[in-house]
């Protein structure tokens, strides 16, 4: 027994609890005043700067950034798709500028490829990620092209990058002459497959034609050496199938509506008239939606949603 009074311990406990509560309170107050984010400055590292930071382990750090980029894209894509399927579509003015949910994707890919300039998959997958339309991706085809062009600076012999550039121009930007030119540039590289030259010719002759689009995705799906690219090609082919089915359904609905004199707003009308056996399903197995405006579309719950803006047919094609 020391005979010391217990009062100081009580004081200490009270002081610790009080300070703890104060720190929680201060954190809450501080969180109300977030620091302004300056992503460009904090994320962008030159090749030399990154080299200084990671010494000899640049390749390993590029892997870590790549994993971060994949996770970032996956998380943001899921969140954006969930939001898109939960809420009503935004007005066109807002839809043209999708929320900046994917702001860090390009910087992450840029750092990855700066650290390891020969990181083939980071360029190719990165371009797919960047060019995916919102909400599946950020819808930034120009960044996808920039990333692939960066890859060509290090590896000018990679015809695959030209193929991917052509792809972005074709599918996302609908600039068929540029797409054809990119395919042709790729075809000139020794070792490029024979079909790249015919792809260039087809694109230049029939750019925007659905059969040309189908050919493009089939080639990518057949030549892809990884599951992600094969899945992406499969999805696009299913979307093309969905567009074709929608066109047929739309035509049938219009004919039926003209015959009975009132607009068709429910699948039940067509089922009752025995025009269709049941609610039609899209290629992913999700029922199509028939809107009150009599327009047919894929459900926001479908993995095919949203359907791509289909390349417009060129005049005279």
């Amino acid at each position: 027994m020391t005979g010391r009074p217990r009062l100081p311990i009580v004081y200490a406990v009270v002081a610790v609890l009080g300070l703890g509560a104060l720190s929680v309170g201060l954190q809450t107050v501080r969180d109300r005043y977030p620091l302004p984010a300056n992503q460009e400055e904090t994320l962008y590292l030159t090749q030399r700067a990154t080299g200084r930071l990671v010494f000899t382990h640049r390749s390993l750090v590029s892997d870590l950034y790549w994993i971060r980029a994949i996770q970032y894209f996956g998380n943001r894509s899921q969140r954006a798709q969930r939001l898109a399927s939960t809420f009503l579509p935004p007005p066109p003015a807002l839809a043209a500028n999708p929320p900046g949910d994917f702001d860090l994707l390009y910087p992450l890919l840029d750092i990855t490829t700066t650290l390891d300039p020969r990181f083939n998959i980071a360029y190719r997958f990165g371009a797919i990620f960047l060019s995916e339309d919102y909400p599946r991706g950020p819808g930034r085809p120009e960044q996808a092209v920039a990333l692939l062009e960066k890859g060509l600076q290090t590896s000018p012999d990679k015809w695959q990058y030209w193929q991917d550039i052509g792809f972005v121009y074709y599918w996302n930007k609908h600039e068929y002459p540029k797409a054809g030119a990119a395919f042709a540039r790729g075809a000139e590289i020794p070792g490029a497959p024979w079909w790249l030259r015919s792809l260039a010719a087809t694109t230049l002759a029939r750019g925007g034609d659905r059969s040309a689009s189908r050919l493009l995705w089939q080639q990518l799906g057949e030549t892809a050496n990884n599951e992600y690219a094969r899945n992406a090609a499969r999805l696009k082919l299913q979307q093309l199938d969905a567009i074709e089915i929608i066109e047929k359904l739309q035509k049938g609905i219009e004919v039926f509506a003209a015959r009975r004199g009132t607009p068709v707003t429910s699948w039940n009308d067509l089922i009752a008239a025995r025009l269709i056996p049941g609610v039609p399903l899209d290629p992913a197995g999700v029922p199509y939606e028939l809107l009150s405006s009599s327009r047919v579309g894929v459900s926001p719950q479908s993995p095919l949603f949203p359907l791509p803006f289909e390349p417009a047919a060129r005049p005279g094609s």
Binding site: F55, R58, I67
Partner: protein, 268 residues
């Protein structure tokens, strides 16, 4: 020569008795094994991750071994005063330095060999389950023999670090030696920048100093061929020979300097 071998074997035995060494090797092997799990998160880049992580683990843990064992090789003997017993024997001082170096290099070689075998086992396991399409798409095969080239250069680089640590430990305290060795290691990666100093600095004196440091400090950047190996790029025999040759010469220079300083030291 027999004396030198005896000191080396004893140094090796001393390292083997060190528990920290086992921990480092086990941790490195665990890390290499973990790369298999990490590889699943990389959209088809599992082999790249495994090779990168494996080679980096070998390099990082090898660096720890080189520095923290290298700095104690001589200074520990002095601190424990066991150096007096050693010097009383018919052993020349430079043989002590060279023997200690050889012992640690032997330790490093054995440990790096164990880590390399672990890496190859993980890579072979992953490569074994691959389909033909995936194999064709690879820039380099799974258990690529070229990985050995990267491992050899890592070993030579670590030998330079060991020689540096040993050099500093002949006249300095362990803590200072560790700091100086790590400083040289870091500076060794920036020596290319020193060469190009004249592009950013106008002062002739600074330019000459930077150029002088470029030639004096070890240049570690050429020893890093991980990226080339991982991407299946060719590494010529001439490049390997020139880099290893540079390493051997630099090690010899450090050992001569270290042995000279140690020979001149007055132990009282």
């Amino acid at each position: 020569m027999r004396t030198l071998g005896w000191i080396a074997i004893n140094g090796f035995r001393e390292s083997v008795r060190d528990k920290v060494m086992y921990s480092l090797v086990v941790f490195a092997i665990l890390l290499i094994g973990t790369s298999y799990i990490l590889g699943q998160l990389t959209a088809g880049q599992d082999l790249k991750i495994m090779k990168d992580l494996g080679l980096s683990s070998i390099s990082i843990f090898g660096l720890f071994m080189s520095v923290f064992i290298g700095i104690g090789l001589v200074s520990k003997e002095v601190e424990r005063r066991s150096i007096y017993g050693l010097l009383a024997k018919p052993v020349r001082r430079h043989e002590i330095v060279l023997g200690k170096f050889a012992g640690l290099v032997l330790t490093l070689t054995v440990n790096i060999a164990i880590m390399t075998i672990a890496l190859y086992l993980v890579l072979a396991y992953v490569g074994w389950g691959e389909n033909e399409l995936a194999k064709q798409a690879r820039e380099a095969p799974a258990a690529d023999p070229a990985i050995l080239k990267a491992v050899v250069l890592i070993l030579v680089q670590l030998m330079i670090v060991t020689a540096t640590a040993l050099f500093f430990s002949t006249f300095s305290t362990p803590i200072l030696s560790a700091g100086l060795t790590l400083g040289v290691y870091v500076a060794g990666y920036f020596s290319q920048d020193l060469r190009n100093f004249d592009q950013v600095v106008n002062s002739k004196a600074v330019q000459m100093l930077a150029r002088g440091l470029y030639y004096v400090l070890p240049n570690f950047a050429p020893f890093d061929i991980t990226s080339q190996v991982v991407h299946g790029l060719p590494i010529s025999a001439q490049y390997m020979a020139a880099t290893i040759g540079y390493g051997v010469v630099y090690i010899a220079m450090l050992l001569v300097a270290g042995a000279t300083i140690f020979s001149m030291r007055d132990f009282k």
